[in-house]
């Protein structure tokens, strides 16, 4: 049973003060300052007046920025869906692997995200560029296919045109999936691992196929895990800065890149602050939606 703080006031103060004060001073105050800036106005190169204006929010809702918000949501959503499509079978396979295999596979899935995000993104560039492995492999296939066509008497396919896989929106989505895949696999794995397997066995015994069992039994049972996997993939993908910056082209700016520009180049802090707060609100909406789904699932279960 938890102790009431009144029973040991001195101990409580000693234990609670450092983390609470730190959180207040070095987290809440900076966030509050940014919040105050959202109502500020640039009056000089470095002076900002807190006039209580809503102009920054109004500007953030202009079609240009609304479009970037929309695009960020679409890119993050697509990333999440792709992670789910790739991650679900992988998590399923791991959950039903032998214990030793399971431990190794989990380690293998997790190891990449103990390596630096910047380095992983950089590594992807070498693979995706026009003279990278993906294009080499495709060229090889293309040339072989072309040779095969001549062999059976058809016209050859012609020169291989390397695909432009870098510096566009596709590259951003590939990069985000690459970076966030472990975030999806792990919660899915832990949900699938906890699941009552006799229900699956029952479904298979009663004549449902594997796909139908997965769709009608496993997916509903693992719904909370899927929801949390979706959330912890979607949130960082939505606020991603590095991936669109390094892999994207001029039209692949996501919201974080716009925020960075306001602070580092355009020097419009109040507007950048308003954009960050809108991004934060979007994040909270996503969390609330997940909590809602979770509660609904629990009530049903």
């Amino acid at each position: 049973m938890e102790q009431s703080w009144k029973q040991a006031k001195a101990a409580f103060a000693a234990i609670a003060a450092p983390p609470v004060l730190w959180l207040l001073l070095f987290f809440l105050i900076p966030i509050a300052v940014i919040w105050a800036y959202t109502f500020g106005e640039n009056v000089g190169p470095v002076t900002i007046d807190f006039t209580g204006t809503f102009a920054n929010y109004a500007r953030a809702l202009e079609p240009l920025y609304l479009g970037i918000f929309g695009k960020s949501i679409v890119v993050a959503g697509l990333t999440t869906v792709l992670c789910l499509i790739i991650g679900f079978p992988v998590a399923l396979a791991i959950a039903f692997a032998s214990p030793k295999m399971k431990a190794w596979l989990l380690l293998l899935i997790m190891l990449p995200f103990w390596t630096n995000l910047l380095i992983r993104t950089f590594a992807l560039i070498a693979v995706l560029r026009e003279q990278g492995y993906v294009n080499f492999a495709l060229e090889w296939l293309w040339n072989n296919a072309s040779g095969f066509m001549t062999l059976i008497g058809l016209a050859p396919l012609g020169e291989y045109e390397p695909l432009t896989l870098l510096y566009n929106n596709t590259a951003v989505v590939i990069g985000l999936v690459y970076v966030h895949l472990p975030f999806m696999v792990l919660p899915l794995y832990s949900a699938l691992d906890r699941m009552d397997r006799s229900l699956m066995e029952a479904s298979l015994d009663l004549g449902a196929g594997h796909l139908r069992t997965i769709w009608a039994v496993v997916v509903p049972l693992a719904a909370p895990g899927i929801a949390s996997g979706v959330l912890i993939t979607f949130i960082p993908a939505l606020g991603a800065y590095l991936t669109p910056d390094l892999l994207g082209g001029t039209d692949s700016q996501m919201i974080a890149n716009v925020i960075e520009r306001q602070f580092k180049r355009a020097n419009d802090w109040p507007f950048g602050a308003a954009l960050s707060f809108l991004l934060m609100y979007l994040t909270f909406i996503a969390i609330a939606a997940q909590a809602f789904v979770q509660r609904k699932a629990e009530r049903r279960g």
């Binding site: 938890e2 234990i15 983390p19 959180l23 300052v33 079978p89 431990a103 293998l108 492995y133 960050s276």
Partner: protein
């Protein structure tokens, strides 16, 4: 967030239950080829870029494309690049101080939430989770404004004090992760042990130090490892808090990348990957050892 799952993997690695040698059952999906293929492709997808990067750091060619022969020259170049070394030392220093403070703060926060009932507990708990969920870019710009306008960090302080702003920013997002890990560990603590110690005359402090801390130890190690890698990895928040003479390794690599993609960056990255993997392995090893020692 998902890094918390590592202790689970560690625990499974530590004590693998005996292997069953039976015919593949209907649920042994890992033995079905479509799923094997899927897992295989995913691992290739995850590892091919990293392994390529590491392999080509030994390639004797400026253009990273065709293998020209084995060389260490880019390592020599990277290791004799003073600003790169300085950035690396800065990163390790920041990670070191961040880890120490985060473990202390995180452990205290975990004990506070685990042990006490107090008014506003839900609010404190919720706020403590905020640094984990708030997008990095938002925390980054908040720290930028904070250290530019509210608490200007003095310029030109002697090392390592000049790294103070970055270290503080790192602690702010790292210690809630530590708190989560330690709290998970505390949930398995038998509160009667604490009462017994107090009944036998131990003071509050002694009970904490001799009863609670040993129990928390695996959580503290896991938390420390987490804080260290989070700090070493962080680019976005550091990017906003670092100044011209407080460059960290990721920020340095980023500017090198902007300039040109050279094998020198590959070499530097390979060093960092190896450092991280070794640290993780050591951390997992330490974490696995403790419970076994206790049992023996």
């Amino acid at each position: 967030m998902a890094k918390e799952a590592l202790p689970v993997a560690a625990a499974t690695l530590a004590a693998p239950p005996p292997l069953k040698r039976e015919k593949p059952g209907p649920l042994e999906y890992m033995r079905r080829w479509p799923l094997q293929l899927m897992v295989g492709l995913t691992l290739v997808f995850l590892y091919l870029p990293l392994l390529t990067l590491m392999a080509f750091s030994f390639n004797d060619s400026r253009r990273n494309i065709v293998w020209q022969g084995f060389t260490f020259k880019y390592y020599e170049k990277a290791l004799s690049n003073e600003s790169l070394i300085e950035a690396f030392v800065n990163s390790l220093t920041i990670a070191f101080f961040c880890t120490i403070v985060s473990v202390v703060l995180g452990a205290l926060a975990a004990v506070m939430l685990w042990r006490f009932r107090f008014p506003g507990k839900t609010a404190v708990e919720g706020t403590m989770a905020l640094p984990i969920v708030v997008p990095e870019i938002c925390l980054g710009v908040a720290m930028l404004v904070f250290f530019a306008r509210v608490l200007p960090w003095p310029m030109g302080l002697p090392w390592p004090l000049n790294l103070g702003a970055i270290t503080i920013a790192h602690i702010s997002f790292a210690f809630p992760f530590v708190a989560t890990v330690v709290r998970a560990r505390l949930s398995s603590f038998n509160r009667e042990l604490e009462e017994a110690a107090k009944d036998l005359g131990a003071s509050e402090w002694r009970t904490f130090w001799d009863v609670l801390v040993p129990h928390m130890q695996p959580g503290l190690i896991a938390g420390a490892l987490l804080a260290f890698t989070l700090s070493l990895d962080d680019f976005v928040i550091t990017f906003f808090t670092s100044g011209p003479d407080t460059i960290t390794f990721p920020v340095k690599v980023y500017s090198m990348l902007r300039f040109s993609v050279t094998p020198e960056v590959n070499a530097a990255s390979t060093i960092l990957i190896v450092v991280t993997v070794v640290l993780t392995a050591v951390g997992l090893h330490l974490q696995n050892q403790k419970p076994q020692e206790n049992k023996a």
